[in-house]
Amino acid sequence: MTVALLAFAYYNYGPVWRRASAPGMEGSLERSDGYFTVQDENARTLFTTGHMVTVGDEFIDENDVRYIVERVSGDVATARAVGKMEALPPLPFVSAQAGQGENTGSVGIYHTHSDESYEPTEGTSSVEGRGGVLSVGKAMAQTLDEKGIEAIHDDTLHGPHDAGAYDRSRRTATQLLKQKPLALFDVHRDAGPAEPYLKDVDGNDVARCMIVVGRTNPKMSANLDFARRMRDAVNAQTPGLVKGIFLGNADFNQDLYDRALLLEVGTEKVSREAAERGISLVAAAVPRLLGTTTGQPGLGGGTGKAIGWLLGLAVAGTFVYLWIATGSWEEMKAKILGWFGTGGVRIGGRRRDGGSGEA
């Protein structure tokens, strides 16, 4: 049984170089160290990324134009432009001191892939235990502190870089959220060539950033709302620093919080110094971002969907609870009918096995 399960898992979720099974990718083989180029219908490159790209993934560019990936062939994905996103609603109760550097709370930073590194500086793309991305997170924290926002930089190592990394980092993220940060960032670096991820700012190479939102998580709409506001806040200070927002086929632990985002800062081909400069500029815009969102309900445009998800889960959970509590569908039905008929039901009351709860 164990062997069969492992074989099944390997077949379904195995390494990309073994089998690319995502819809639209039938028969293609990918390199573990490769990257995808995502183009529009006119073969214009929108972005490159080391993230797995599948049909249905989306990209929202600097100008808020939304693209949906319709075809993936080898390393090239083709996305169709579906128009501009609906404008973000103005936020009421905007702090009069927004962006003035006042202390607006804390921000959590952690690294699921704590090994990710920058080849020009560290000589390799992965250093278990002291990946360059940890220094990038530290640079972000320093800038936030300078701007009057308390940064909680958790440099817990989640290695090795395997399928358990997100499960391990979930525990770190959960612990960080207990400190009630205003935002939570999982800082990574992307994979691919340096050039699309570099920008000249005052004569210095600066790594650009891409925000990643998991499109399978129930808080996706709220995360995306926050991501768009972040992109606009950063690009208002440093135009073009945030390349855009990638909506990938995962949840990246973003179901934990509506202001949880994954940041890709440069690729393994840019220097760590450029990445540190890039993230510092991103962090410099955070007071402006949080200033415009502090005091808001917090779920942004995703409130409706999040409530829908929770409602669905609650209803499903109630049925499961009733079923377990009553012991059979018949008794559950009788209890529910009795509820309406007699005005009450004693959940978890009588058990058919006489209440011994024998295991």
Binding site: Y10, P160, T172, G357, A359
Partner: protein, 211 residues
């Protein structure tokens, strides 16, 4: 941060339902209602308590997510009537632990390749394996919870043997930690299988097999 009242209420309902299921699961294992409630409260309150063990590999243990469930499964094994059930429960935990740890090795590290979120995958996999190998509610619960805890022990051994820098965190992702999901699902599956079997063989009322 100001969540809308409706959202807060719904989150509370979802958590209460989840705890209700957990309560029922514990109740099914010969724990009294009061004991089950105490355990749930200890798990909920204990999620805010961590203690660290310093060493070459930092270890953090969450009281609610690891220590309390560990105490429960030790009690369950210790009070099992039959030696065969004790053995089956321990074996179930070992098998589950090996498979869960193995899954993290053979699966692609990029989350987009996983059709099930890692949050659920390890808990669900552990629950299924534990139910299959435990074959009783008690052994299934021990297998599910113990399996996830053991997979973290295997992770610790892996880091030690390979000399990979890293850290180990037992529990800590709250009520939806893989540890809790695994235990609840394992017992839930046993209930489901028991019900299905009962309906299939149409056992006369009162003669349902108690496993």
């Amino acid at each position: 941060m100001g969540l809308p009242v409706g959202t807060i209420v719904l989150i509370l309902v979802a958590v209460l339902v989840f705890f209700g299921v957990l309560h029922r699961v514990l109740d099914r294992m010969r724990l009294s209602d009061r004991a089950a409630l105490v355990i749930i409260i200890a798990m909920a309150a204990g999620t805010f308590l961590n203690f660290g063990i310093s060493g070459s590999i930092p270890i953090r243990v969450n009281v609610g997510g690891a220590l309390v469930p560990l105490a429960v499964i030790i009690w369950l094994v210790a009070t099992a009537h039959e030696a065969s059930e004790k053995t089956r429960a321990i074996l179930s935990a070992i098998i589950t632990g090996v498979v869960v740890w193995g899954l993290s090795k053979v699966m692609n590290p990029e989350e987009q390749f996983m059709r099930v979120s890692p949050m659920l995958l390890f808990g669900v996999a552990a629950g299924i394996i534990a139910a299959l190998s435990g074959r009783s509610r008690r052994a299934a619960f021990v297998g599910g919870v113990g399996g996830i805890l053991l997979s973290d022990v295997f992770h610790l051994i892996e880091l030690t043997v390979t000399g990979t820098p890293g850290s180990v965190f037992f529990g800590g992702a709250g009520a939806f930690d893989a540890t809790v999901i695994a235990g609840v699902l394992a017992v839930g599956l046993m209930e489901f299988v028991g019900e299905a079997r009962e309906h299939m063989v149409k056992t006369p009322k009162g003669e349902r097999e108690q496993d």
